[in-house]
Symmetry: C2
């Protein structure tokens, strides 16, 4: 069992009441994951070092070598992920010599050869991307969140990430339009009427595959690769309380902190001593966010 494996590792913040574990491991994710059995995790969500980024900590993988460097790891992720699980990969290609590099495209194609299904590509729209000006391009305000699965039947809890309805609701739901009625009447007894009645009580709608979140720009010394709300969104969407979440490139600990706050067990692996220490520090003290308190997501 996972508990036995994790006994010897640094295990933080065990919440006895709910029996939630948050485990931070120090080392290379390939080495550490070797000790985990198949089908250990419900969700893998991570933001790996982009090519040529985090030079000091990761040695700066060259863009041309990125796919070759990453593929053994995705192979191992495939093994430890449950058949109903999901892998969310937050990544963006660098601009190299005036061009977008193609390593992300190649990675997707190669991962499909490993057996991954490329289910979806979410766009993280960074509402407050960093200012700057270049003669040949605008500021980069988005990143990819690639969704991979092992099977077409995976767990998804859409209700957990619903967003408030727009002004739209106030105007339209007061009185149904003829179109909606006609669309309904054309199919006798179809479910549309029922759904309308569902809408009347609703205040929230399902989101799209564009996620609007600001980047975190606080005073923290070490900024996270992504804001906590991003892993939170995917953790809510693809796991339930008590499920297991993995971040093999933990960085400053954002994913584990998000998982902990949502009462999910988590394992985070970090190869850099500095980031490892930071992740440990960030998880102290124990802080739980009630599920009901969790942040609302902007619709635009």
């Amino acid at each position: 069992m996972l508990n036995r494996i994790l006994d010897a590792s640094q295990s933080l913040n065990t919440n006895l009441e709910r029996e939630i574990q948050t485990n931070i491991l120090f080392g290379d994710c390939l080495d550490k994951l070797a000790h985990f059995p198949d089908h250990s995790f419900d969700l893998i969500v991570t933001s790996p070092p982009y090519a040529d980024s985090r030079l000091r900590t990761y040695g700066g993988i060259k863009p041309d070598d990125y796919v070759e460097w990453f593929l053994p790891k995705t192979q191992e992720f495939l093994r430890v992920l449950k058949p109903t699980g999901t892998f969310i990969l937050n990544i963006k290609e660098k601009a190299v010599e005036g061009e977008r590099h193609t390593y992300v495209l190649e990675l997707i194609l190669e991962m499909r050869k490993q057996g991954w299904l490329w289910t979806e590509e979410f766009i993280w729209h960074k509402k407050n991307c960093y200012p700057g000006k270049w003669p040949n391009r605008f500021r980069d305000a988005w990143e990819r969140c690639l969704q991979f699965n092992k099977s077409r039947k995976f767990n998804m809890y859409q209700e957990a990430v619903m967003v408030p309805m727009g002004d739209w609701a106030e105007t339209r739901l007061k009185k149904l339009s003829n179109t909606d009625k006609v669309r309904d009447e054309s199919k006798v007894g179809s479910g549309f009427g029922k759904n309308i009645s569902n809408w009347l009580g609703r205040e929230k709608v399902y989101p799209t595959n564009v996620i609007h979140l600001p980047t975190e720009c606080g005073n923290k010394k070490h900024s996270a690769a992504f804001p906590k709300a991003l892993p939170e969104w995917f953790i809510k969407l693809f796991t339930q309380e008590g499920d297991w979440v993995l971040d093999p490139f933990l960085g400053s600990g954002t994913t584990c902190k998000a998982a902990q706050g949502l009462y999910r067990n988590s394992v985070g692996i970090e190869i850099s001593p500095e980031y490892y220490d930071l992740a440990i520090a960030n998880l102290e003290p124990l802080q739980h966010t009630l599920f009901e308190e969790s942040g609302q997501y902007a619709t635009r």
Copy 2:
């Protein structure tokens, strides 16, 4: 010269005062472009039929055959584009058997082998995307606008698409965040402080690579693949008045109408008789939009 080639074709709305031409050609773009010399166009902006779409008019290219179908055309686009020109390709992959298809990724890789530079990927955020609910995915609210170039030195007129300062200005610039102050002070004399002071007097800022536009869904009988504001944005960004714009998959004529309104010469090619007639009809009567009147773009 282009004028000679276009003499025999249907040429609409010649604005004698400014000598702007808007030419709609009927046929396959590969055939029609063969009559154009190298380096004819400053901008190619188009939304080709997506795989399996527009079944009646285009015969429905199968996703697996899409790249093979498209590559001869991009080869010809490369020839007729000026060295300083830009090719904007609006495209999105379909979901096929629960997965995103990979034809767009493969297309980018193959086009680079033809000699194209993949300069940038803009995201068109469709604010009013198609409704629907499925167990395994959310509504698709974005499309790719891929930017390709022949050279790293291409024409770009960033000032033409500046957007009004949004909430961003109000929240961030009124009171500089501690981060900015710290950052500024940490680099004595670096450019950041100067830039801030520049912004304080400004009313407009450069946009990002995320474009927020609703799809057109009025009461019109024939809708365009993309809203007119989308080609307008790229025409302003990559051409000047009097330049030449090409849309090899014109559809209902949106690109030519946008070019005409902005006093750019344009050539549109359409293979479907119905869409060809529609494009001709849509360009009558002549309607010019003053440059100053041109639409403002949402910042979110």
